[in-house]
Structures are given as C-alpha cells and as structure tokens.
Symmetry: C2
Subunit: 194 residues, 2 copies
C-alpha cells in the first residue's frame, strides 16, 4: 500500500492547507491556531505544511496573500532609526500602492469590512507582522498605540486616495502627499500624544 511518497498528480493539498489556515487563523487567532490542527483539517501530514511554507509564520503570510512581505521590507525601513521613519514609511506605502495591481489590497479591505473572520485575520496579521515591528522601533511611551495610530493614517490615506478617490488628494503628486502626511506619522511615532 502506498502510504508514503508523493500522491498522484492533481491533489491540491497546498490549497487545502491555505484554506484551512485562513479559517483557523481568522477564528482562533495566530496563537490559538496550531499547525497540527490545520494539517488535520486539510487531511495532510503536519510536515507537509512545513514543506510548503517553511514556518508557521510563513504559512501565515501565505494565507493572507499579503501583497508585500513585511518581514523582508520593514527591517530596511526601520534600520536607520526613528528619525525620518515617518517619511520612509509613507513613501514606501505610496510606492506599493502606486506600482502595479491594487486589487489584492482592495480584496483585503473588502474582506475585512464584510466578514468579521477576515477582519480578525487581517488584524492579527497587521498587528503581528507590521505594527509589532514598528512598535519595537519606537522609543516613546505607548509604542503599540503609536503604531496603530500610524496604521490608521496609512489605511485612511489608501481609502481616501485610492478607494474613494477624494480630489485633489487622489491626483496629488506622491511627494506632495509625503510632505503632507509624513509629519503626522512622525508625530505618532515620536511626538507628544497629548
């Protein structure tokens, strides 16, 4: 009996794992989700999960289908220190939205607004993979609150400029937007919140 080795072609174990992961992560959160549980739901061996996605975090990133991988881009943005970080974050955020296909982001937002489970998944992902790293770079009090404030301005910028397309913000030069918004982000990161 062929219990080990590769299955006949056409098995979609990878997609089954991703589907099970999305459901579990949205329902129980990152910590409440186990690789073994996902593997069981998908009807595969836990080792196969690691074969496809490397780590639990890698599976998380893949399940989100997030257009950029924060673990690869954020360190470079954070490395130079808090000074000028607001500007670097805004400029990078804009460059991601300006370049290429916006539909993955729109799908994320649409899901978050429509289903609480999708919102939970996005919340968990952003908190852990994005805001957690940003908060770790903050030297002031309440780093998590500061990071979420940064997030609020950035997601609002995306909504106003790319989704609702409010003019003249939607057509403004990227550098104009950076000049206007970066001080806000910088203040959230390192200024007074009073």
């Amino acid at each position: 009996m062929a219990r080990t080795g590769r299955r006949p072609a056409g098995s979609s174990s990878r997609e089954a794992i991703l589907s099970a992961a999305r459901q579990a992560l949205g329902r129980y959160g990152y910590d409440g989700t186990t690789v073994r549980g996902i593997a069981a739901d998908a009807g595969v061996d836990p080792a196969l999960v690691h074969h496809f996605f490397g780590t639990k975090q890698g599976l998380f990133v893949a399940a989100m289908d997030f257009p950029v991988d924060p673990s690869t881009v954020l360190p470079a943005l954070l490395a130079p220190g808090v000074e000028g970080l607001g500007e670097r974050l805004v400029r990078f955020f804009l460059s991601v939205w300006e370049a290429g296909d916006r539909s993955p982001f729109l799908a994320l937002i649409r899901g978050a607004v429509s289903h609480e489970e999708s919102a939970a998944l996005l919340r968990e992902f952003v908190t852990r993979e994005v805001l957690g790293r940003v908060a770790a770079a903050v030297n002031e009090s309440q780093p998590q609150l500061r990071a979420t404030l940064v997030g609020s301005q950035l997601v609002g910028l995306a909504m106003a400029r790319y989704v609702i397309k409010l003019e003249p913000l939607a057509s403004a030069d990227p550098e104009t937007v950076v000049a206007a918004v970066a001080p806000t982000v910088q203040r959230y990161l390192a200024g007074s919140l009073a």
Copy 2:
C-alpha cells in the same frame, strides 16, 4: 382620465425615485444629474421628487442614506472658527461612531470598496456635503487638499478602530483618541503642509 391624484395603494414611487437617483448620481455625478431625469426614470412627475425630498440636495442626502446630515451638524462645528476645529471634528466623529448602529457606515464603506459606482456616489457626497464645507472654513492655501487630508485621517481612524479593530486603538478611551488625533487634523486644517 385619472392622470392626476393619488395612485392606488402599493405604488412605491418614493423608492423608485431613490433608486433612480442612486443610479444617476453614481453614474453622472451631482451636477450631471437632473431631477427631471430622475423623475422620468422613476416614471413620476418632477414635482413629486420635491414633494418627498424638498430639494435636489435633500434627495442627494436621502439617496446616500448617510447616517448624519452634514448640513445640519457641520455648521455648528465650524461656527467657532478654525481654532480648535480639529478637536471638535474628531470628537464629533467619534461620538457618531460610538453611539448606536455602525452598520450604515459599514455599508457605505463596503459599497465603496466593492462597486465603483458606489464609490463615485460616496465621493461626490463627501466632497460636496462634508469636505466642501470644511474647505470653506479653511483660511490657508489649498483648502480642498487640506479637507481631503482631514478626511483621510478620519476614515482611517474608523477603519483602524471600528473595522479592523487594531489594539490598543480599538479599546482606547475616546478622549485618548481625541488627544492623539486632533492635532493631526488641526495641522491639516491650519498648519504647514511642507
């Protein structure tokens, strides 16, 4: 011939008008939409539109199903002048989201993200009824850009706090949020954008 007078029961002229208005406003914008055209689409007399909704703007507000009527709340917020306006706007915005049912707002956002026509309708409404009034109260250069920047921070606050529910922002005391965000809005209204 009974051409005038009330129709037999069951006629839903009011809803027909609203439906035609949403379609026309989303497709052609406020100025490109005529009351007469809406009336024709709905198969009613133009005067009936005014009977139900008073003015074209009233019809616009009704078609949007916007949870608050900007023409009744904004003047009081804007009257005391630009000083402290950021704080008043943020506090009012929070009070509207905190109190009562959020589903009308969520429906607006969901529509805007899902259908371009809904986004156009929301854009037109917010620009004309909300940001237009705010911009008129601004004494600095680029009042429209400033108003849209205010809008970006407010819609981002709603997304982060009420939709994605990023912690600790989602659970923060309203006054903490006001203290953190109001200076941003105030700077967009009256500060330097450089």
